[in-house]
């Protein structure tokens, strides 16, 4: 079984996490698509801590010895998923950034070219 103290600790930690995530979303610092896994983590830990029978059932189901380890296992799995999500995200923002930089550089060159031609034309007129 899970000790009462641990139960309380997990409940408080999960609630804190959920409060921070909701605050982040409402203040537009966190996008919904990046919050789904965090909310899942908070909710699943809350369920495990509030209903120890669920934890025990889950523990038996996948062959973990101590129910408390089920909490650790799910937390670690979700944490890995979050890290993976961040890696994918950072890769894709890198390639997007590259495209923007290239486009800006090309536009700058075109603008300079255009300026030169305008200068030439105006000089002709004078």
């Amino acid at each position: 079984m899970i000790s009462f103290k641990l139960q309380m600790t997990v409940i408080i930690a999960a609630l804190l996490l959920l409060i921070i995530v909701v605050y982040g979303i409402r203040s537009r610092k966190l996008q919904i698509k990046h919050s789904v896994l965090w909310i899942f983590l908070g909710v699943i830990n809350l369920i495990f801590a509030l209903f120890p029978t669920v934890t025990v059932y889950f523990t038996n189901l996948i062959g973990i010895e101590l129910p408390v380890n089920a909490i650790f296992l799910t937390t670690i799995v979700v944490a890995y998923l979050l890290i993976l999500q961040l890696s994918i995200n950072s890769s894709s923002s890198e390639s997007k950034k590259r495209k923007i930089v290239q486009k800006v550089a090309i536009l700058e060159a075109e603008l300079a070219e255009l300026k030169q031609q305008v200068d030439k034309l105006t000089k002709h007129k004078l």
């Binding site: 996008q31 919904i32 789904v36 909310i39």
Partner: protein, 238 residues
């Protein structure tokens, strides 16, 4: 009233040309802006053949929210009084543009939604069962949170006045943005109304939304609507 037709476009080379020709034939007086959201097909070439159309090419696929917001920023910068947005796939008939113009001209609302489902107007395009279920769900959720019944909360055939242009240029939801945008406008004191519209089958191509995608979509939209419920209008009040 200076009005801009705003069309987001992602890989619609088969339908966008026909749509633009239709608009030009029916509404020569209106300015048309197409935002090409990183299409990998020949959309950009097709659009640039239409000389009356302003084309903005985004450097990569940014998603519908950011694409549409680019249009609102353009409308703000070039001082348009109103924007009418329709999809690049041709589902929204240009013949229904006058309904939007009329509602805008008589200031019937700040945000005007072209709705497929207003009673007595459920003709033409009929959606799939699961999509209709989704629309019932979003209707219920929006009604619960805002108190207003919106019959077609995912419609992309919308128009708005200057107040909403300013607001959308500042903040526009990113993923599948329509329901969240409606909620924000209502919560910020804006008037949202619906006018009937018909909906055509896509001129060409396939819809991009799969079943798994739509499940994830409903989770995200629900989270957004519920968690942002009651948020104050820190942005420019409308």
């Amino acid at each position: 009233m200076r009005t801009l037709i705003l069309i987001p476009c992602h890989n619609e080379s088969e339908s966008i040309g026909h749509l633009l020709a239709e608009i030009e034939a029916m509404h020569k007086e209106l300015d048309v802006l197409v935002i090409n959201d990183g299409s990998t097909d020949s959309s950009s070439d097709v659009i640039s053949r239409h000389k009356h159309v302003v084309l903005i090419n985004l450097p990569y696929n940014t998603g519908i929210g950011a694409t549409v917001q680019t249009g609102f920023q353009w409308a703000l910068k070039y001082n348009y009084d109103a924007v009418i947005r329709l999809d690049g796939d041709g589902q929204h008939p240009p013949a229904d543009i006058p309904g939007h113009l009329d509602a805008l001209l008589h200031d019937k609302g700040d945000l005007i939604i072209g709705s497929r489902f207003i009673k007595s107007h459920e003709i033409g395009y009929t959606s799939t069962f699961s999509r209709r279920m989704g629309i019932y769900y979003l209707r219920g959720l929006l009604k619960l949170l805002t108190g207003q019944m919106i019959y077609d909360p995912t419609s992309g055939f919308i128009s708005c006045n200057r107040k909403v242009i300013e607001w959308f240029a500042e903040y526009y939801p990113y993923d599948y943005p329509e329901p969240e945008a409606i909620q924000r406008i209502i919560q910020c004191g804006g008037r949202v109304i619906e006018i009937p519209t018909s909906m055509r089958k896509r001129l060409a191509g396939k819809s991009k939304i799969s079943t798994l995608d739509s499940l994830y979509y409903f989770i995200k939209v629900s989270l957004a609507l519920i968690l942002l419920h009651g948020k104050k209008c820190n942005e420019r009040d409308i």
